[in-house]
Point group: none
Chain length 205, copies 4
DNA sequence: CGCTAACCGAGACGGTACGTCCCGTCTTTAC
DNA sequence: GTAAAGACGGGACGTACCGTCTCGGTTAGCG
């Protein structure tokens, strides 16, 4: 996401990364999160972030394309999707974990605050849309894969479409976050999973 | 919502109201909706609304406190819901019809253009949020009722939660519209319903 | 000056004037003068005048072409000059008295408040300028005449130019009122006169 | 006058100043003078100045507090008081030169156009008054000093009060500019000086 | 003494300029 | 040679008045 507009990866002389860059990005990202907490998304200003981070405004624009990019990137740091379960649990466990993670993100006001802004921005800007949709597809794919694996393993009913089932799991969470005043609680995730892929101990064979 | 800051209703000498006021409010509200669809909430400008409505900027500020008040009021005009389904056919048919209707709406660029705008606006303003969430709840209720009736009639599996099931039906459609580049096609509605409430000819009893 | 734009004098049926018109004009003119004193010319607003006069804005525009016309007309009411000095005493005494009078007027905040307003207005509007300058010339003439009489009588040095000397007497008072924070006190009038026409007991013959 | 609201002179790290600032100020000041000539003081608009200077409106407000500050500053550039005579002429010569300069300024419609506006503004705003009066005092001081030096040197009659005499010299010029339709011509300066401090070749000893 | 014409208040209207704010870009200078 | 500082053009914000324009309601004075 960082500097998505810059196509070249500029490997510079070698592929060493200037440690100052890393440092700058970290303090700015922290400032963004603090500012988000203090002023909300609408009240967040590039200038206020720069001031809080003790950084020049131009420095921010050197690393991020614009306000949205800045915020989205900062939030991404907080929102590390759990890697695929090394092998451990059942497919259902893994699915539940991913859905739980999404519900948690959508339940955190700070974390989910950029989603509406990104949706809006994507609506009016093709390149934002392209990024945003691709990003979502990536995230979604993990879940789709887990579902497909569950079907493959005979753990989930064979009539399921993995794509549609994934949507049936995360769509409701998105809906609750955006269209109602009350995000889906993580406690409801189990019920949601049961609704979408059937109750746990019910045999479908 | 109009001039929410003025608490007294002050009926003036009689309760006649200047017809110019009515007229102005109507054309401005229409301009707001058109502008929302074209430019989104973030791109909506008081000046552009004024220009589109053929009205002075000061006239707008005479009637609405600020940009937010203007948009919220205009959107309230949309709250003209069609009466409840006249009923007929199986519960599944009725549900499919409702879901189909929602998918159609979300598939129409023009119709669904205000949704991102509303989501964004609701995020920033509590009174818009209040209206928007209530409006969505009303719409959703029709589907929830149909599902509950289906369960009651033994037509749908008893383990379903009608609220969650409704979300599992419309959530995916919303998700596809907002988070991907491709809204759910109406052709997929049958599959979606099958995913959420089970395939049609499968007995669960 | 009133309604200079209206060429017809509308004699109506007879030449009776509706008393409401007279009344309106009077209260509005008074409101203008009060407003000028309080807020200055730049701060004078048609709306504030209307409010102060307890009159509708449209009523004002019914009688005066615009803001300038309104102010110019109101100021013309001030043109009520006291008759010429009844004469008596030496020329110097008479001069001192006139200068003292001017210094008193300029020292009274209330009395002198319209001067800056008039100056400003004259700067912007030729007809106000014409009135204002003529009015000032009239007032000044009394002093010029007194000085000329003093020279004629041999009471003042013959090398004096009566016009310039008059200016040397009232110019400083105006300057102090407008360009400094402290108007010339009346106690300084004697010194001022001495500066302009020489000390009293000094012989110039 | 520029940014009079900023009390500290903040020389930054060193006393270098950004050349863009100098450039901007110059082109804007020129645009102000052109605009004054074309549209007059009342017709001068910050936006028109910005457009003429090819500069953003915000840039103007970055350098000047408001319209008045902008105009006053621009005019100040034109109105450089002659430095104190290195030593050369007599006190009378020096005085005549200063008075001549003031008369010239007051005779130039463009130069003197802001005086009424400033007077008006000072009347209603304490901080403008403070600046304006201090500025005038500074200007006046040069003349007062020259007069005092002349008295000290025995070149001017000892009975003169240098402050009052200065007022007797510039007061008339101000009066003519503001209160009559005809500013004092520079040709009359010699006569004016003669009136205030006595004819040149007359002995007073 | 009632009618009608005018005058009135209230204030909505289209405009225009104000001065503020923040965006994202670009320039200069310091380290 | 990179980063901080911040000037810059741009453009929307919300405010304040301008002068125009409906509105009904009220009042004067003729008939």
């Amino acid at each position: 996401m960082v500097n998505a507009s810059t196509p070249d990866e500029r490997p510079r002389s070698s592929d060493r990364i200037d440690p100052r860059i890393t440092q700058t990005r970290r303090v700015v990202r922290e400032a963004v999160l603090d500012e988000l907490a203090d002023a909300g998304f609408g009240g967040l200003t590039v200038e206020s972030v720069a001031a809080r981070a003790g950084v020049g405004k131009s420095t921010i624009y050197r690393h991020w394309r614009d306000r949205l990019d800045l915020v989205a990137d900062a939030l991404e740091q907080l929102n590390r999707q759990p890697g695929p379960q090394p092998d451990g649990g059942t497919a259902r466990k893994q699915i539940e974990q991913l859905v739980h993670h999404f519900a948690t993100a959508m339940g955190d006001p700070r974390l989910s605050a950029t989603v509406p802004a990104l949706i809006e921005a994507a609506e009016r800007d093709a390149s934002i849309a392209e990024f945003f949709h691709r990003y979502n597809a990536q995230r979604r794919q993990t879940l789709v894969d887990a579902i497909a694996a569950g079907i493959e393993a005979g753990e989930l009913p064979g009539h399921l479409d993995s794509e549609l089932t994934a949507l049936a799991l995360i769509g409701p969470i998105l809906y609750r976050r955006l269209m109602t005043g009350e995000p889906l609680s993580t406690a409801q995730v189990t019920d949601l999973v049961a609704t979408a892929i059937g109750p746990e101990h019910r045999a479908w064979a």
